[in-house]
């Protein structure tokens, strides 16, 4: 599913967090969004997923504007997201987290007649667990999962909603180098298996240049550059603004 952003703008007080951003993510693409801290990357995701309303601009999903739609409607249309700080349901086990997500997805969240989980939900949750590789911690409470597994669970919850477009906000945040690569390999496999339009925010340039087919660079809420890894690597503006001081960004 194609995601197209046109002239998106959002200010917080005086700060223009997103300033006239126009970008296209073709159906089935795997793109990275990079940029220094405070560049507006998370805000960009928040605007697409419907957490905030933009001041101006359009978010087009297969050429239909979804700006007026609620979070729920956007989820139903196929926009899924995971969060920079892993966001799951700490008192529930991994399986319960995913069953709850599937239950919500099939519109059964308000059912008081049935028992939880409704029929078929356990199986679908199991598939998602298998897909991301969380089956070994199925019955562990989310609160006591390792940091990496919590990030995975967050992504798994998003996947349980069967998105077409998946936005991952720093899936490797807070991980060591080896763990990062394992995580991003999983993400790439998911993208491949589920034919997703996947956009991820990432600070590790090695990962970005290896994995993403296109890269968008945000800086002070604006698009500084976009292109293939090679184009970005050699872009003078990007080198000046970002790559040159990469060590400060993480």
């Amino acid at each position: 599913m194609k995601l197209e952003i046109r002239h998106l703008t959002k200010s917080f007080g005086g700060v223009r967090a997103i300033d006239d951003v126009s970008l296209t993510f073709p159906s089935g693409s795997l793109s990275a969004v990079i940029g220094p801290n405070g560049a507006g990357k998370s805000t960009f995701f928040n605007l697409i997923s419907g957490a905030f309303a933009p001041d101006a601009g359009e978010v087009l999903l297969e050429d239909h504007d979804v700006v007026g739609r609620s979070k729920t409607e956007r989820m139903q249309l196929g926009i899924g997201r995971a969060f920079q700080v892993a966001s799951c349901f700490p008192s529930m086990t991994v399986a319960e987290n995913l069953m709850a997500a599937v239950t919500a997805r099939i519109g059964e969240w308000g059912n008081i007649v049935r028992r939880f989980p409704p029929p078929g939900v356990r199986e679908r949750a199991g598939e998602v667990m298998e897909l991301v590789g969380l089956t070994h911690v199925e019955n562990v409470e989310a609160a006591i999962l390792s940091h990496g597994d919590q990030k995975l669970l967050d992504i798994a919850i998003a996947l349980a909603l069967e998105p077409k477009v998946l936005l991952l906000d720093e899936p490797t945040a807070g991980m060591g180098p080896d763990e990062r690569w394992r995580m991003i390999e999983r993400v790439r496999r998911l993208w491949d298996q589920r034919k997703l339009t996947l956009v991820f925010i990432e600070h590790d340039m090695d990962i970005v240049f290896q994995v993403a087919s296109t890269i968008r660079v945000l800086c002070y809420g604006r698009v500084l550059a976009e292109g293939t890894p090679d184009q970005i690597r050699n872009n003078q503006a990007v080198i000046d603004a970002y790559l040159g001081k990469e060590e400060h960004a993480a």
């Binding site: 729920t72 139903q76 349901f89 529930m92 969240w109």
Partner: protein, 319 residues
Amino acid sequence: MKSNGRSGTRETAIAAVALLIVLVVPFVHRSPAFEDFVIRLSAMALFATSLNLLVGNTGMVSFGHGMFYGLGAYAFALMMQMTELSLPVAAMLAVLFTTLAALCVGAICVRLSTDYFAFITLAFQMLIYSVIISWQSLTGGDQGLRGGLPRREIFGFDLASQLHLYQCCAVVAVLGLLALRHISASPFGQTLRMIRDNESRTGFLGVVLWRARLWAFTIAGGFAGLGGVLAALFVSGAYPELADWPNSGQAIFAVMLGGINSFLGPVLGAAMLLALNDVVARVTEYQGLVLGIVILIFALGLRRGVLDFFRVAWSKDSQ
């Protein structure tokens, strides 16, 4: 928690056995004090457990839950006194009335932030309490509704008989608790736990937060009303204290004492609180002081309700 159809059957079986035991006791040994206790406990258990649907399940702390307990009691007692309706019909209408009242109050409260929610529920309770106090001609004002409830037999039951009242209250309370248990184990109950755990993520999953909260508030109000009906039966009337804030406080105490994360926690808490009240009232006039100290000891000693404490301890042992 591995909830499925099986555990539903198991819960029903446990409830049936518990009910059977309670019903058999008077045939083995009659003790008016014990029967009194069970009658009061059945009202209080419904009251506290319904509150816990909000506090423990959803993370909504209502300070005004007593208003629905009081409304249920008044609605029922008034209907019995002013109409010829049979008792079960009057009880059902009273619960329906309370449920609608909860829907109206909830519609205003549930969109507010946590702090304001607690505050506004308290304000609504004070409003309803003052209406009860000032509407003398209907409610009897601060004297309460007196004159007793008309004795209408239903299916050979005579509610003036303590034994029959005891049986009736036990059955209603167990059925009510089973219904609440079922709701808490339903997909909707799970949704409430999601809201408690992580409200913002729940909103991203397609759950309409205010609607889920409003449902929870309405259901909880209805079951508190049912508790109020039992209370009205016990006192043969209704008193403004039933709808007053110290009564809401009692329910909160029961929930906290027994444990918010165990379904039966509030029932145990209600039993402890009633027993404490009885014992303390016998030995001293400084009831509030003694109760406060006991609750503080529990709160600071266990750091959680009694059942929650044992559950955590048990799961640590078994690891």
